[in-house]
Symmetry: C2
Subunit: 651 residues, 2 copies
């Protein structure tokens, strides 16, 4: 069930070129402190190191090529690993000998920084060797290891570099020897899930069962021993590694109950989705129905009760965390870029467990909105937090909104998001299809060519489209076998008008768990699919207090927003009536090419009030106005201004 | 211009009896750790000491009557001082020999805790004598001193106790000798304003100019040397006294610019209003037009741009602070009880500067809403934070709302509010009138008898009313002089229908800066005043994003709210149309006697949505419902539930 895909898509190739030609070289300069940029704190917090990256230099010091002290977060290494992973994927679609040489050198450097026994983490090697694995609630040692292993698998697959794989195996073997239930082993987990994902990938690459078992150990151990971090801390009894982490509740680490009993999405949002990704991978791989059920429950809780319309998750900056059902404030939320990327990871694993298109619906929602919003159109500015409502003056003057940036910084003190997004975009080809033994799921509509190996025969799919600008999609499928292959084409949850043709014959599309299931016999076939993509009004469940009386506009997978650049200040005063026509127009000249939506609306006249705050008598006057909306992912590319997704809807 | 007032009011005497018979004995038990109560942290913060009060025991240890360590905040002493001040006022309206004996003993204890040179602060005496005055940004030493001086003045006036005054003078003289511009003196201020209020009161009592000058020094020094606290901290270089204070910006302490240049309300709200109170007192006392202008600007900024409709101030929990103009979130604000009490202090001083009724309007707004809401109807439970919107599940599960309690705790880790409210209610007689040389301002409508000494002759005013239940007020005025006295009766800003009679003759009421100015000749006169008090709809300035499309209901000075006990859950789904009749009814059987407001409205049917969060199609259905509103001050006296002041208003 291998799958090789080449993307030829207008929308995505722009992004993928940006990764290759802007993000990767830019991030390389940042990691080497070779570029003069302003590194912002992702929120107002004295403990955030933001003078420089120092990430490569940390490796040079650990490798004894250089002298000095470690600088940055305890997880600074992971920035390098995610960069290396993005490089790997980029090499798969655009080979670059110089870049490969640079990356090979990085592999050499990492290999020199690895200790004899396989241990790899520059912070502890340089700064606190005696505290290794003694403070796992904060230390991110296994988190960093997981990212290195993920990068290694990708780099090996892209280049065949054996050294990177041997470093990864040595590291993984070391971890397997230290952590587990056996005597003398540490029976505990990392505060931040990620090693589980890395070990599963290493298992998928090598087939070595030890890695699968170790991933399962870490997953099943989570929450089994809620006091583990506290005990470690008491035994270590030194300065914290990350101040404040222990003030968070056990939910923050998903340590409140054993993982098998977790049925809601709790705690730090990125941690939760990383845990769920590995859990779903394990459940799919081992066909574990119990774990699959846990994944379903967590998914349902996110999708039905704790997710923004933009695919953002994490309702509060405090602990970057989930809060409670239906609590979705639009202006103080976190909606970290990494969390939506993690939600995409989780979704693709859920599709392995079961063929239900809603997983792909949410994958698409997170991808086309929050994930892409994480980067400016120039590929050199990044959001950590992705709000649904911004007023720049409030971000500047209300300390409870210090994390809600109105424009993307050049870099962040905690730089997890930019390289995470680079690796996501560079590997988006892996999310288009899910190939199973007897069926191929179409998750995303991206112009591409793919080859599948299924049950011994080859299937080639050429997908022609200009999505999401247009909903006209053609699949040219060549099945070189004799048995039919089920092509399950997603019927997007937002679509209510679509038509299909199979080999020029009009098809009757019946939803099969959200799919149009087309049996493709041997030979060449042409499937036409035409989804009407028009601007639509979306309402929110009335249990969400923040969105009562409000409407959000989306067109296909893209959520739209009103921006100051088009609509001036005081966006809360806009009123988009339910009967106002939403007119859509593609504009090449705006924001690198976007479809804009224009409508007539009303604006409360903020000057019809006089001085003072409270007034008894008539409501303030409204005046007619034009409202322009742009796709959410493209906001904040025209300077600082207000932005708002949910607009008031007059009756 | 003395003024002696006895209150006979139904509304207020209930509260004043509560102070005397519930709050004072209860708080005494708390200060002595003699009662088993649950002391809650006012917000989720590990540094808040909440095991016990220990406030009296701290004095016993400092006085060497007992042994042990100091416990509690560095400003724990002030809880005792404010209790003593409340006792003083209560003795003025209900003499109690036993209570006086207890208070005399407290004075003796405090006197024993005072050091030889006049220094008084149990934290530093017990715990860190070498750090006295070395960390003024955090130490609250002068803050506590100010509260002691205020209490002393009150207790001396109530009982003639000479010892309390001598301790206060010794303390004030000590402070005057240590702080100032002279050589060898500390040219700096306390992080929390309050000493200035105390010194002004001591000046008013004693006529000793030194205290006035010292208050002026502290006030004019504020913001002149913004680095003062940082320099002290660097020189002290030890553990912080209150962790985290230095992460706040200089505005937090009103240290960002010299006080004369401050024209907006910035920083910690209580500090700002305490500073402004002393500043206005100084400006009124010395007739300083420059300082009066500063006060006017700060006032305007609060009243026009930074105050909740309930008279609450402080839009954020972070630093318990003001944020920016028109930033008034209803569910994450602070609106500390103490801040509204401080706003009342500020207002009464502004009335000395100039006779403008709007100062009394806001005083009344703060008093009848946020200040009174600070206490349960039983006098034994207290709010620190006074929200305009509460959902208990959000307070419990959203860490950004951990400070927004849905019911009043029995006591608070930082217990500034309960005794502050006790002294406010016990001294409310002092806020009814402002007597000047040639006029008497009627600020509040409270049934009472007052004697005024004006320019050598006596004026007696008997105020008859049952306010705010009724707007019918009668003033029986006896002017024993021959010159007429101007009685300036406030025309409330919310009133638009009122009539007056002077000695049975219908008067033509013309507003004179918000007053009905009645010249009272010698002899006995009867002034009838009839203000129509009906439920009214209030709208918010459209610059405030949170209240667009919403309405608040008030009746006279009382803001109303919808509570879960009457309206169930999901108050955000209520819709109170603009044309719905608001019917008012007095109910003796509800909440100790309140006027309730009932109206027909609509409720979005939260079950008309099914599973999931987002939906394209029709808006969720509304169904007709009854909406009941109660006065804001009385909320949260019927168990835990939702509460909301601003309701959606359908067109």
């Amino acid at each position: 069930m291998n799958n090789e895909t080449m993307i030829h898509d207008t929308f995505w190739n722009r992004y993928r070129k940006l990764v290759k030609h802007e993000m990767i070289p830019y991030q390389w300069d940042v990691l080497n402190d070779a570029i003069d940029i302003n590194i912002e704190k992702e929120r107002d917090d004295d403990f955030i190191p933001n003078e420089k990256s120092h990430a490569i230099e940390n490796f040079r010091i650990a490798a004894k090529r250089s002298q000095g002290d470690h600088y940055g977060w305890v997880f600074q290494d992971s920035d390098v690993y995610k960069w290396l992973e993005a490089v790997s994927y980029s090499l798969m679609y655009e080979w670059d000998e110089d870049l490969k040489k640079t990356a090979d050198d990085v592999v050499d450097l990492i290999s020199e920084a690895q200790e004899e026994d396989g241990y790899l983490n520059t912070y502890f090697t340089i700064k606190a060797p005696e505290r290794k694995y003694k403070r796992l609630g904060e230390s991110h040692e296994l988190y960093c290891a997981g990212h290195f292993i993920e990068a290694s698998v990708a780099y090996y697959e892209a280049t065949g570099n054996e050294k990177v794989l041997s470093v990864a195996r040595k590291l993984a073997d070391h971890i397997c020897s230290v952590f587990g239930e056996g005597e003398g082993k540490i029976c505990g987990v990392d505060g931040h899930e990620e090693i589980e994902i890395g070990l599963m990938k290493l298992y998928h690459l090598t087939g070595n069962d030890t890695y699968l078992k170790e991933a399962e150990f870490f997953l099943r151990q989570r929450g089994k021993d809620p006091e583990f971090f506290d005990r470690q801390k008491a035994a270590d009894a030194k300065d914290p590694i990350i101040a404040g982490v222990y003030t968070f509740p056990k939910k923050y680490f998903q340590m409140h109950v054993p993982v098998e009993q977790q049925d809601t999405a709790e705690g730090h949002a990125v941690r939760l989705v990383y845990m769920s990704t590995a859990l779903a991978d394990l459940a799919a791989t081992t066909n574990d129905k119990g774990l699959a059920d846990v994944c379903r429950k967590i998914w349902r809780n996110i999708a039905d009760k704790r997710m923004y319309i933009t695919g953002g998750i994490g309702s509060t900056v405090i602990g970057e965390a989930f809060t409670l059902d239906y609590d979705l404030p639009n202006d103080t939320m976190y909606c970290e870029t990494c969390a939506s990327i993690g939600l995409i990871f989780f979704a693709i694993q859920m599709l392995r467990i079961e063929s239900r298109s809603e997983y792909a619906d949410i994958m698409e929602r997170a991808l086309y909105n929050t994930a892409l919003a994480g980067m400016a159109l120039d590929g050199r500015h990044f959001f950590y937090v992705n709000p649904l409502e911004v007023v720049p003056e409030k971000s500047a003057n209300d300390p409870g909104k210090s994390h809600v940036k109105p424009v993307r910084p050049e870099w962040l003190g905690c730089a997890c998001c930019p390289p995470n997004l680079a690796r996501m975009i560079a590997s988006v080809d892996k999310y288009i299809y899910t190939a199973k033994e007897d069926e191929i799921l179409v998750n995303l509509f991206i112009r591409s060519e793919s080859d599948f190996e299924l049950n011994g025969h080859t299937v080639r799919i050429k997908q022609e489209c200009d999505y999401p600008r247009s909903g006209k999609i053609t699949f040219l499928v060549s099945n070189n076998g004799t048995n039919p292959v089920n092509l399950k084409i997603r019927i997007p949850g937002w679509a209510d008008d679509y038509a299909g043709k199979v080999d020029e014959k009009t098809a009757d599309i019946v939803s099969d768990n959200g799919y149009w299931n087309v049996a493709i016999p041997g030979g060449d076939h042409r499937i036409g699919y035409d989804i009407q993509i028009t601007p639509k009004r979306w309402y929110c469940n009335p249990k969400v207090s923040e969105n009562i009386g409000k409407v959000a506009i989306a067109r296909g997978p893209q959520v739209y927003c009103a921006e100051g650049a088009d609509n001036g200040i005081g966006l809360h005063n806009l009123n988009l009536p339910a009967d106002s026509e939403l007119s859509y127009e593609w504009r090449d000249d705006i924001l690198g090419g976007v479809g804009v939506i224009d409508a007539k609306g009303w604006r409360t006249d903020a000057n019809d009030f006089g001085e003072g705050l409270y007034y008894t008598g008539n409501r303030p006057r409204e005046e007619e106005c034009s409202i322009r909306l742009i796709p959410y992912y493209a906001w904040a590319n025209r300077g600082e201004g207000e932005m708002r997704v949910w607009l008031n809807e007059a009756k």
